[in-house]
Symmetry: C2
Amino acid sequence: MFVLHHGWRSSASRRVRLCLAEKGLKFESILVDLAKMEHHRPEYLKLNPNGVIPLLILPDGRSLYESGTICEYLDETYPEPPLRPGDAYGRAEMRNWIRYTDERIGNLIIFNWRHSIAKVAANMTDAQLAEAMKKIPSKERQQAWLRAARQPYTPEEEDEARAKLTMMLDRMEGALGEHAWLVGDRYSLADIGIVPFVKRMSEEIIPDELSDEKHPKVAEWWRRIQARPAFKEARIESFTSTL
Amino acid sequence: MFVLHHGWRSSASRRVRLCLAEKGLKFESILVDLAKMEHHRPEYLKLNPNGVIPLLILPDGRSLYESGTICEYLDETYPEPPLRPGDAYGRAEMRNWIRYTDERIGNLIIFNWRHSIAKVAANMTDAQLAEAMKKIPSKERQQAWLRAARQPYTPEEEDEARAKLTMMLDRMEGALGEHAWLVGDRYSLADIGIVPFVKRMSEEIIPDELSDEKHPKVAEWWRRIQARPAFKEARIESFTSTL
């Protein structure tokens, strides 16, 4: 049995849950509350010194982190149904899609963290914040925490992030004009990688851009994604629900 | 025949050249001068809309970018000698090593760009700089250009970057304590990925840390790396040479 340390709203966790659901793999669910910084507690760092979620504990006790790495491992180990293109060039394109998506997470964080981490961070004292900073390994994430705590994003910054996210839809539209899924005719980890982004765009950030008028191919892709049983099973639910 | 658009000093280019050399694959070399922003010129953007190097043109005319993606494609397509672990878990570890390395490139840029990009950027007018900014896709790289142009890194920032790079050696030392290469007993893309970092650390940034006293396992690994014929063939040469 797999054990997954994750968060319901965490984009990276959502990817891994989608992958597990597509493969029909069950897991024991252990929730990690980022707003409470549970991922930086000693007991969690013992499991994952990198202090990030998701973390997948394999049946043999070994563990893996990084959503892209975890999903590709699962596809190599449990090949049915395949979630990677059948040819090396397609797999290369898939990996570049995942990387492209990863590099844009900052634009999503602006809209995601205000539901959770920002509320907690804003109430921290300077001393608490300084202490929290020490535990955050990446400079980019430190900056995101500082902004959430002390200097909320400006309307201009939010507009810029919306524009960047819209450009992702433009790029998807181009790819989907050529084939049914982001890489060729097979649903793959490239699609799974971007689902948590599109979900958030669709419900709150830029819902109009998901229309048949603005991005028809993406809109159609998004309907097909949501119709997959794995989507429901992975619980890619609304941020404003009681989840 | 492969065609490689690359730079002799570019870390990502060095990885791909190492991989090609290990595989015994020849290529036509086309140099791209980042300091002259040749990677943002229309004729290059037609080849690679992402405006990054290296870019590998395959014998069939298709192309690939992103060093990690290119190297894994090459290993899948030309499996001898293998440059990835034989098992899925090992490959997952390898991918996490590459990602770990990628995420730390900012610490290397501080010391690399002063040899090239900083000299050009500092001489730009504000208008030229603003124009250049528009062409740089990632915020992190924009920031690096701005710093290179107008606000050279402080001694404190350089110290911090040196400390972060030293931590990479610490982590390598831990991994190499268990086996001959970063992932298990096979030289892999994880090793190749970090070679451009260690090369720069060894020659200028923190050479003392590469000693048998400070990091004996890494020092031994580094000697073995440099003894490989591919290292010479890939021309991982000194930044201060006339290269």
